[in-house]
Structures are given as C-alpha cells and as structure tokens.
Amino acid sequence: MKPPSDLLAPPDALLESEADTSVAMENPTVGIDQTAGDFTYDVKYAYDAGSGLSEDTIRYISDVKKEASWILDFRLKAYQTFLSKPMPTHWATKDLENIDFNKIRYYLSQGTKPKRTWDEVPDDIKKTFERLGIPEQERKFLAGVEAQFDSEAAYSNVKDIVAKQGVIFCNSTEALREHPELFRKWFGKVIPTGDNKFSALNSAVFSGGSFIYVPKGVKVAMPLQAYFRINAENFGQFERTLIIADEGAEVTYMEGCTAPKFSTSTLHSAVVELVALKGAKIQYITVQNWANNVFNLVTKRAIAMEDAEVKWIDCNIGSRLTMKYPGVILKGKRARGEVISIALANDGQHQVTGAKMVHAADDTTSVIVAKSISVGQGRSTYRGVVHIPKHLKGCKNNTECDALLINSNSRTDTYPAIVVRGDTHAVQHEASVSKISEDMIFYMQQRGLTEAQAMSLAVNGFVNDLVRQFPMEYSVELKRLIDLEMEGSVG
C-alpha cells in the first residue's frame, strides 16, 4: 500500500521561481482585527521540551508520552529525513527561510491525558476554550469534541450515542497507546515521512491531533470536531490526525484553529491522513484562522477505495504563510474526490492553497473548486495537481479556480498542473480573475451600505456558492470572519 508519492512532488510546471516577489513578505504589516483568537492566558506547563530541535528533544517527547520503541524509532528516522531535505524554496516562497527551527518550542503540555468533562479541565485552559465558544458548540450540534492546547488535548469527549456505535475518537497519543494495531496499519501510509520536509518534521515531533475510527456501515450523524489552539509564544504545533472510515461508514470532521498574535512567528505543521475504505464517505472541514505570524505548513491527503468519497472543505483566512494542498488518491474504482477551497489573503499574508488529485483506478472522479480573495497587499496562489495515467479508463476531473482582487496592489497566481494520458478521460479546467469594481462598491454605498459593508457583501457573494455547502454553524462563522477582514481593509 505504498502511494505513488513520486507523483505528489510538484511537477516541473510548479517550479516557478518566486524570488522576485518574496521581498514583500519579509515585513508583514498586520492591521487586521483578529480579536476573536487574539488573547492569551498565562499557563504553567508541566512538560516543556525547551527551544530547538535535536534527537534529545525527540526522546523527551517520546518519553513524556511513554511511547513504544517502534514509535521512537519512527520519529528518529523521520528527524534524519527532515535534516536531509532542503527547504523547497526553489519553487516555494523564500519566506520559508524566516522559520528559525532553533527558536521553536517543540513540546509544551500540562500532561498527556485529556479530561472527559469540561469541569476537570484546568481553569486557565478552560476559559480559553469557553471564550472561543467550544463547549457551547459541543452542546448544540457536535457528536464529539477534542480540544488541543499547544501539544496535547486538554479535553476529549465523544457523545455516548456515538461511542456505543463503536466509533473511536481520541488523540494520537491515546490512539497509539490503546489502539496500536488500527493506528499502525495506516499511520504514515497515505503520507510517507519523506513526502516533504514538513511532513518529515511532523513525523519526528508529532503530538496531539485526532484519531477516528468509524466501524463498517456506521454513519455518524453529527460532526466530530477538533479545535487547535496555540497559546505559547515561539511554539510549534505538530498535530497528527488519522481518520479511518471502514467499509460503508460515513463521518464529517471539522477543525478550527486560532492563536494569539505574538511578535515572533509561530509554526503549525500538521499531517492529516484520511482512509476511506470501500463505499465510505469522509467530509473534512477546516476553518483556519491563525494569527498573522503563523507559518501554516500542512500536508493533508486521503486515500479513497472502491466507491468511496472524500470531500475536503478548506478555508484559510489567517496565517502569515499557508502552504496546503489537500489531496485524494483515488485508489479504487469509481472513487470520488473533491476539494472545495476558500482562501483570503490580507496585508502581510500569502495563502498558497490548492489540491492534488491522483487518479489510480478506472472511472474515478475528482472535482476541485478553489476561490481566493486577495485584499490590500495580500497574495493568494493556487497550486493544483491532477494526474491521470495512461492505463486507466473513464476518469473525470473538473477544476475551477476563481480569484477575486480587491485592490490594485493585490496579487493572485495560478499554477495548475494537469497531466492526463489516455483517451477515455474527461478533464475540464476553468479559471477566472475578477476585481471588485469601484462602480459596484458605489452602487452598494448608494443603497446605504458603508464601504466596508459593501466590500464584505461582495466578497461573501463571491464565495456564496461554496459556503452554501458548509454546515450552517460554519458558514455563519466564515461570514463573520470575512466581515472582520474586510472591516480592516478599507478606510
């Protein structure tokens, strides 16, 4: 079960030099109201791996977690892979060079065992999640919640009704301890350690993240949610998520994330692997609202077996630099993969988002719809890979990339790489760039909307057809985030 990882490296078409544009990223100016997540409480950590990365750091993490020896070996090997891989600045932005791996704190926690009730969660951590509205959302519409605070989950609970169906929902530390066979079978199989420099880093120092197993035929009616919170300065969050939907199972997973706005940069580098077995359906929804000094370098990929369906809904509002291309390896016949991507890049932000669709069986279908909005000096980049090899029959891909530029100095780039061989496939690519015209804004102002309200409405209209596919609570949240961003962008 080795995925064709060589196909997943960016092909030559993606190796665009960006040397000429990296200058603007060096001094990001942040004038955006991100009040929702911009607060921090002083927390005492029981476990702290200190700053910088070495084999000792990794041994420390493994020791705190009381891991089996194979996991430590896996980590140490990954560390060597991380060291051997160059920063991918030959095709990606030079801003990556501003990450100082020696200053990052790789592990901070108050313990490795999450609480099952909010009452047991220490007050300083609980008030953070209460302020973010997590317990309230859990009561209202979620089947289970995991709340990660820096390196470990502070709270993890799944509603009885879901647990009784045999659904497992816990964090990676617990999963390795309590469900090692299930975990090990797929761990690192969809995204090998050496997929890229940051997947190797994650493999070396991973902590937290979700593990979900949905048994055969079980359909989880309400979403499971994880919330990732960075609280400490100079901290690196490296969660590891593995979701397995057994044959005919269905599950929706949602993740949200915030961090306070520190003066120094923070690194978030997750690895997320999804496994949809025969006829299974997984929907994975992300609303990323990191503070504007977070490097968000995430590898997300799914494998879809026969008749399985995987849908990534990926919204990127925050961060300084995001590089993320959720992918689906369409391994079984008639498998279907879909990526819905919304990115908003404001001043000092570069959103590099897109999708990877690797067709590896007959009659597989992939759909990519990517919409990006660039505000002020914000920059959005679409990178997409669609691969359909010659020996397959009846594959379909539809790609649509739409970019909206708000100001005359906003920037957008699209790098689609579509490699299709064989003559029984149907592939379609559409791209558009539009600008919010002065006339449109004036028209809306003439009806009494302020300039910011007008911008906000225009942007919401641009993404409206995608947002309609979200669960209601998330579409409301996204609309609120767009309103906040647009408020800071005018005047």
Partner: protein, 254 residues
C-alpha cells in the same frame, strides 16, 4: 418641507477637474414635486445625478447641494443614501452571488440604529407586498442582483429597491432607457405609487415617452451643463414636437 437644493453647481470628472461638465446649475426640488430634466445626450444630466449621489469619478468644483438646508458635499455616498437620497441607476451594477433579498435586507439593516435587529418576518412581508405591486415574480428575490438581468428586469429591480428604502428624494437617471412599453408602465406605476408629500423626484429622461406615464410638475431643459429653459408639462410636448434643435437655435439667437 424637505428640500433638495442645487446651488450654482459645477461638476467635472475627477481626472479632469478643469473641464466642467455641469456648469452652474441651480434647481430646488421639494417633496411632493416631480421635476423632469430633459436634454440632448452629453449635456451633463447623468453627471448631475451621480455627483449629487457622491460618485468618486466626479468632483464638485464649486457650488453646493443642500438637503433640508444642510450641505451634503462632505458626506460619504452611503451617508447621503441613508439621509434620504436614492439614485436609480441608468446602468445598475451586477453583484454576483448576492441575492436581491439579501442585498435589500442589508440596505434596510444599514438604516437601523446600532444594535437594532431587523425583523425578518416583517421584512419579507413588506418585500413581497412591494413585489406584488410591481408585478415581480417571487422567485426574483433569490436571483443575484442584476446578474444576467434583462434591461427591464434591472429597472424593475431598481424600482423595487426604491420602494423598499422609501427615500425622500429619488434621482432617476434615464430609467426609461431600454424598456419596452409594458416594463415602462410598471416602472411608472411604481413611481406613481410613491408619489405624495413625502417624496420628491428628479426624473432624467431623453424622451418625452416616460412623461406620458409619470406626469411631471416641472420640466427643465438642460443644455451644455445648465438649465436653459423651465416650464410645466407642456414644455415636454413642445420639445417632442420641435426637437432639441429648437432650443439650440433659441439659445444661439438669444
């Protein structure tokens, strides 16, 4: 009585402020009155209405516009709108992805006091009653504003917004252009329904046709950036019969 007073107004494009398009126009409109402004193409009619509404492409180089005796020139376009000035556009913009229902709702919401929430049930009830009046299909409200609309649909959408926002003064810029006779009648009925002592209209039109349906109290002829002749509705008929050349000749000999 509320009034919209235009005093010796000079307007130019922001890009060429030394080339005035409107050149010393003076006109006072009170509520309860309908003023038709007629004139040949390129004489500054549309410029006048956009400048009053605060379009950023235009700059007022001298003169003043007063609403109830207070200058509005320092106000943002949205402040002018909320103060009661409505511009029915000759070419309304498309707003992709934003439905008419949501757009009008946002505009109504913008007029409420801070913290005050719109009563959604009452809003839809009012919206639907206005739509019935304008013979607009209910399905219309779920379409994106002006996107893919016919000329007639765009104008009806403008009138619907005007009916919902209930401005004190409406500036109607060539509302009749591109309309067939049925659409023209519906638009006119919409304006007529609002006519009364709380509503004043500046009706810009190139043709007398619309004035068969909206009978004006005053008719002004605009030529070369100024009002050169004013009268009652009979002036419009005279223009229709004699053409604009008649005005040009009269000016040349004067």
């Amino acid at each position: 009585m509320p009034s919209l007073e235009i005093r010796d107004l000079f307007v130019a494009l922001s890009a060429t402020p030394d080339k005035p398009i409107v050149k010393g126009l003076t006109l006072t409109i009170r509520t309860g009155e309908v003023h038709a402004i007629m004139g040949p193409n390129g004489t500054g009619k549309s410029t006048l209405s956009k400048a009053i509404a605060g379009h950023p492409d235009y700059v007022i180089t001298s003169g003043d516009v007063l609403l109830d005796g207070k200058s509005i020139l320092a106000m943002e376009p949205d402040q002018r709108a909320r103060a009661g000035i409505f511009l029915a556009f000759q070419y309304p913009s498309e707003i992709p992805g934003v439905t008419i229902a949501n757009f009008v709702r946002a505009a109504v919401q913008a007029r409420l006091a801070e913290g005050e929430d719109l009563d959604a049930t009452a809003y839809y009830k009012r919206l639907y009653s206005k739509m019935d009046l304008l013979k607009i299909d209910r399905k219309f409200t779920s379409r994106a504003v002006n996107e893919g609309f016919s000329g007639g649909e765009k104008k009806r959408c403008e009138i619907l917004q005007m009916a919902m926002l209930e401005p004190t003064f409406a500036l109607m810029d060539e509302t009749d252009s591109g309309l067939d006779i049925d659409a023209l009648r519906i638009v006119a009925e919409g304006v007529e329904a609002m006519r009364g002592d709380k509503f004043g209209v500046m009706l810009i039109t190139h043709y007398q046709r619309l004035l068969d349906y909206i009978v004006p109290d005053f008719v002004h002829v605009m030529y070369d950036g100024r009002i050169v002749k004013s009268g009652d509705k009979s002036l419009a008929l005279e223009l229709e019969a004699k053409g604009y050349d008649w005005i040009k000749q009269e000016l040349a000999t004067a």
